[in-house]
Subunit: 230 residues, 2 copies
DNA sequence: TAGGGCATGTGGTCCAACCACATCAAGTAG
DNA sequence: CTACTTGATGTGGTTGGACCACATGCCCTA
């Protein structure tokens, strides 16, 4: 076993045993190195991995914001992993879109009508109704709306996966807008569909909401010229 | 931007541009450090992250197996990320099981009856029919069977996510068997359900296969005493 | 010709030093 | 006594160099 993996296992053990929880701080790199009888280099490699996994955040300086603190951002980890593998072209974008439809349909059908996330989603729709909104601003709100729907289903894993899927193809989705014949027309349609979806959820018609979401996403990519199996 | 991220972006760029593909080899660490005008330490930190993400594999020595070569193992990345976040107790096991049901039901309903993966799955079932099989061996085959079903749906993202979900809770699932009243009875039931699922897929009845899979998974965890929302 | 041994190049590990940064306490000027 | 400055302290960030274990392949020798 390599040295940095030893450190990794030690930290993972501390997390599992509850001796290290979200918000807690890891010992300083130099201290940890001495405790585990390894070099600071190896400690740092382990921390880098944890950082990439969204488990810790490293901050320089002094005070409460400094040091290496435990966080929990699964979306970051899954997102960069997916993005990298999309880059290697071993994860087709069409599969990502398909998975997004799958997860988001499920989330729509399981979203709780009275959840605070859904209230937030309604607020986002109002913002998006503003006239003359820039394309990128609209898309940013669109992402937040869809993520809010996913969160409303109350499954942290599905939320994280949804977020990571979006993150892995944001750049791609943004470039797609260039393929659209007329953005204003599309935006108007998207707005209307968003309201329909929200209405279906609020009326406790999960099945309809799921179908609307699937059509909403697939319709957009079809219009933008992406092919993917049903 | 930190130094190792510069290296990370450079490599990701090479991947995106196709200058670096799966099977290809990264320049040696010392060479890369000189090329990018950074220290070898920073290069190594970047490579560590890529390794944790399942994008490269580092091998010492000389020859074709040595050096840092590009691979593509999204499952490893997602799996360890999920496992770590389960350790921080920010991803409830119940959510993972629920997501597994969701993904696996979809895969069952979209599995292609004539796919080679399904043939492999049938072979696994025969192996599992052997008498007096050890619990861990049975569970190992069970994992492979379920993954084969997921692969048969032909969506790489769903396959990777399925694999990572299983990986993140293998230890957990293994401990669960201790809760079962009688393993032999349960194993017999699992075998029968597996055959039912496979039959449904082979008869092109995706809807039934999906329902059977959901019942199969939820039934197991219910019997083992895990609570999770529907 | 067949064998052993060394040159070469790889990642793995460690160390010592320095930097930038953020905070906090002590000291000083008002 | 207050307010500001200034330095000490501790954090992660980065670097260069050194050495190790390992795997290969060439070259020299028997």
């Amino acid at each position: 076993m390599r040295t940095h993996q030893l450190v990794l296992h030690w930290i993972e053990g501390q997390l599992s045993e509850g001796k290290l929880a979200v918000g807690g701080r890891l010992p300083a790199e130099r201290t940890l190195a001495e405790q585990l009888q390894v070099s600071r280099t190896s400690v740092r490699e382990a921390i880098r991995i944890l950082e990439a996994m969204g488990v810790v955040r490293a901050g320089v300086g002094s005070g409460p914001e400094a040091g290496t603190v435990v966080i929990s951002d699964p979306t970051a980890a899954l997102g960069s992993a997916l993005r990298l593998h999309v880059a290697t072209q071993h994860l087709p974008v069409s599969d990502i879109v398909q998975t997004r439809v799958l997860l988001e349909s499920w989330a729509a059908s399981h979203a709780r009508p009275d959840s605070p996330e859904l209230t937030g989603a309604a607020g986002l729709l109002e913002e998006m109704d503003a006239d003359g909104m820039a394309v990128d601003d609209f898309l940013a709100l669109d992402v937040r709306f869809h993520l809010a729907l996913a969160d409303a289903a109350g499954n942290a894993v599905v939320s994280a996966m949804m977020g990571s899927l979006r993150e892995s193809i944001t750049g791609y989705a943004s470039r797609l807008t260039a393929n659209l014949p007329d953005w204003d027309t599309t935006a108007a349609r998207l707005r209307a569909e968003h309201h329909e979806i929200l209405d279906a959820i609020q009326n406790d018609d999960g099945e309809r909401a799921a179908k609307l979401v699937a059509a909403h996403i697939e319709g957009y990519y079809r219009e933008a010229g992406v092919r993917h199996s049903p």
